[in-house]
Structure formats: C-alpha cells, structure tokens
C-alpha cells in the first residue's frame, strides 16, 4: 500500500498540473481497486455504476486533494461516501462499518480473481453432488428448502451434507495448506 500511495500520489500531482496521460493511468489504476471494493458490497449492476460515480466524483472534486495528506485516504474517503450514498438511496442499510483505506487498496480485481480461483480449486476436490450443494447454498445463496427440493433430499440431510463437506475441505487445508499454490 505504501508503494501504491507513492505511485498514485505522483500521478495525482501530475494530473493536478494538467498531465492527461498520468491522469488516465491514475483513473485506470483506481478503477481496479474500486471495482473490487464495490463488488464486495453491492450487486453487480450497482457496483459498476458506483465505480463510475466515484470516478466522476474524483474528477469533479479533484481540487479538494491536499498534497500534504495521503492520497489513498482521500480516495478512500470518497469511495466510502459514495457507498453510503448508494445504501441511502436504496435504503438497504444505514451504516457502513468503520474500515480503513487498506480495505480499498488492499484488494484489486487481480487478487479477487486469485481468491476465486483458490475457492474453485478447493471445491473441485469434492464429489459432484456435494460440490453443487455447497456452491448453491454457500456461494449462490440458494435456500436450504430450494436445494432440498432440487435434490430430493430432506432439509436436514442437505444441511448435514454441506456442513460435512465444508469441514472436510477445512481439514484438507489444514493438512497441507500450500498443496495447490
């Protein structure tokens, strides 16, 4: 994050002086973090809208960046404000947990993709029927009742299967945490 701070701040200072090429690189870089940040908090369509709204806000309010202060904190302040604004519009939730700028700059699309790939690999170790149940309930948010109806199992059998599958995966990871890295 410290390296990012230095790079982004350099681009921002050049942008404030009117350097369009630096500005484009800055916005492209920030977009990767913003996509990841909003994807973890909003629905798909709303997330990309929030990314664009934040980019427009960064552009329109760029004079409020004080070069004496950290650039990452400035961007994070705007991203968080736009998230709260989106929650307020859709009346989904009144408060946003007090997280830190690291929450924006600690992730980007690339690390998210790696995390998704890791989950994928792990799930592939399960037998087909179990894997589908875990995916449906834990990843897609299908209700236990719906999953039971689809498979013909009882609801408690579904719960037990998913619970055991997750436990098995956890034990597998503990035995050899770096097997697939």
């Amino acid at each position: 994050m410290i390296a990012q701070e230095a790079q982004y701040r350099d681009w921002m200072l050049a942008s404030l002086a009117g350097d369009a090429a630096a500005y484009r690189m800055l916005l492209q870089g920030l977009t990767r973090h913003l996509r990841s940040y909003y994807a973890r908090r909003l629905d798909n369509g709303a997330a990309e809208d929030a990314v664009q709204e934040t980019l427009i806000a960064i552009h329109a309010r760029r004079a409020t960046y004080d070069p004496a202060l950290p650039f990452t904190a400035w961007v994070y302040g705007i991203a968080r404000y736009k998230l709260i604004d989106e929650y307020r519009r859709t009346k989904r939730r009144a408060t946003v947990p007090l997280d830190e700028a690291g929450d924006l700059f600690g992730h980007d699309e690339a690390t998210d993709a790696i995390a998704r790939r890791d989950v994928r690999k792990l799930l592939d170790k399960l037998p087909e029927a179990k894997r589908r149940l875990v995916e449906d309930i834990k990843l897609r948010g299908v209700s236990v009742a719906d999953a039971a109806a689809r498979t013909g199992l009882s609801e408690s059998a579904v719960k037990v299967t998913v619970h055991r599958a997750i436990k098995a995966l956890g034990e597998d990871l503990e035995r050899d945490p770096n097997a697939d890295r």
């Binding site: 664009q52 806000a57 202060l69 904190a73 994070y76 302040g77 604004d85």
Partner: protein, 212 residues
C-alpha cells in the same frame, strides 16, 4: 457507458487545477456571508446607539477580536471538513484557544473590586441576543454550505457542525456592531452559547443539505 470510455472522456481535455482553489472558494463564502449578514443586521436591527462613540471603546473591540478569532479557526475547520480523509479533530480543538482567552478576561472583570456580577453576565439584552445571533448568522450559514457543497464533505453531520460554528462566528461578528453589551462575561456566555446553537443547527441541516 463503459467505464473505459468514461475514463477516456474524463482525461481528455484535462484542465490544470489552480493551487489555492479551496481557499479562494472559502474566502468568497466569507465575503458573501459577512455582506449578507451585515445587510440583515442593518435592516432588521440597525447599528448600536452612539456607534461613533462605542467604536473607540474596549468592549466592541473585544467582541470583534473574539468573534474574528472564531471565524479564523472556523475557516480552518471548514477547509478540513471539505477534504476527504482530512483530520477535523485538531482544528476543532484549536477553538479552545479563543474561548479560553475570553473566559480568562471574563474572570478578570468579575474579580475586579465592586463588580456587579449579575449585570456583567446577564447584561440588558440577553433576550434579544438569543434570537439575533442565529438570525444574523443565517445568510452566512447559507454561504458556508454553498462553499462546502462544492468541496467534498464526507461526514456530513460533522461538516455541518463546523460550517454552523463558522457561520455563527460570522453572525456574531456582525451582531457586535449592533450589540450594546460590552462586558466580557456577557460575551463569554451568550455569544458562545448562540454560536454553539448555530453549530447544532448546521449539524442537523448538514446531514441532508450538504449531500453531493
């Protein structure tokens, strides 16, 4: 629109940002706010009686100094409030300095031999002062909100409180041209109280009026 297209659009024809743009905006707000508050004071209340005589006295300059110091520190507070990621605590704590000075002066006046405590604190005009400072401050509050909305306040309640305090100080500064009370205890209690009330009004109003 695709995000890549948006980025291309935003970065084409990029204008450099003038340094000191935020300060300039806030100075415009101060000038406009003071002028509009002065207009309200002159039309609704009028200058104090025997103004030419009072302007040479200690009391009116004490009020100018106290309220001007609050305007100056309030300026710093609002400037921070308009910048995402900036710390508002330190500029807020600085407000203690002018308040401590007026309290010290008030204590000295009350400790003087033969001081009439009640008259020093209550004066003769508390009931009017109560309504008048927030009233005179109202146009300044509008000016402060106008400026803040062009910046990027991210904690709207706090930003509104800062803008309210700033505007209350401007209102009190202008009100000092009308106010016939010249004792430090009166200013320490009532001016501070009504500036604080303007700050509370700003905090509530800011939660929706400062959205951007």
């Amino acid at each position: 629109m695709r995000t890549d297209d948006l980025i291309a659009q935003l970065s084409s024809g990029l204008e450099p940002v003038k340094t000191g743009a935020v300060t300039r905006l806030l100075l415009i707000a101060v000038a406009a706010g003071l002028a509009a508050s002065a207009l309200v004071m002159l039309t609704v209340l009028g200058l104090r009686h025997h103004f030419a005589e009072a302007i040479t006295g200690f009391g009116i300059w004490m009020k100018f100094a106290y309220t001007f110091a609050l305007i100056a520190f309030g300026f710093g507070l609002v400037e921070r409030a308009g910048r995402p990621g900036a710390d508002m605590l330190r500029p807020a704590l600085l407000l203690v300095l002018p308040f401590a000075a007026i309290v010290l002066l008030a204590a000295l006046q009350m400790a003087a031999p033969g001081a009439d405590m009640h008259q020093l604190v209550m004066g003769r005009s508390t009931s009017l002062c109560a309504v008048a400072i927030p009233l005179v401050a109202a146009p300044s509050l509008v000016a402060a909100f106008w400026a803040l909305r062009q910046l990027a306040p991210t904690r709207l309640g706090l930003a509104g409180a800062g803008a309210g305090m700033f505007a209350g100080a401007m209102g009190a500064f202008v009100y000092a041209f009308h106010c016939p009370e010249d004792s430090a205890p009166f200013v320490a209690v009532w001016y501070t109280l009504w500036i604080s009330l303007t700050s509370v009004i700003g905090a509530f109003a800011g939660r929706w009026a400062l959205r951007w």
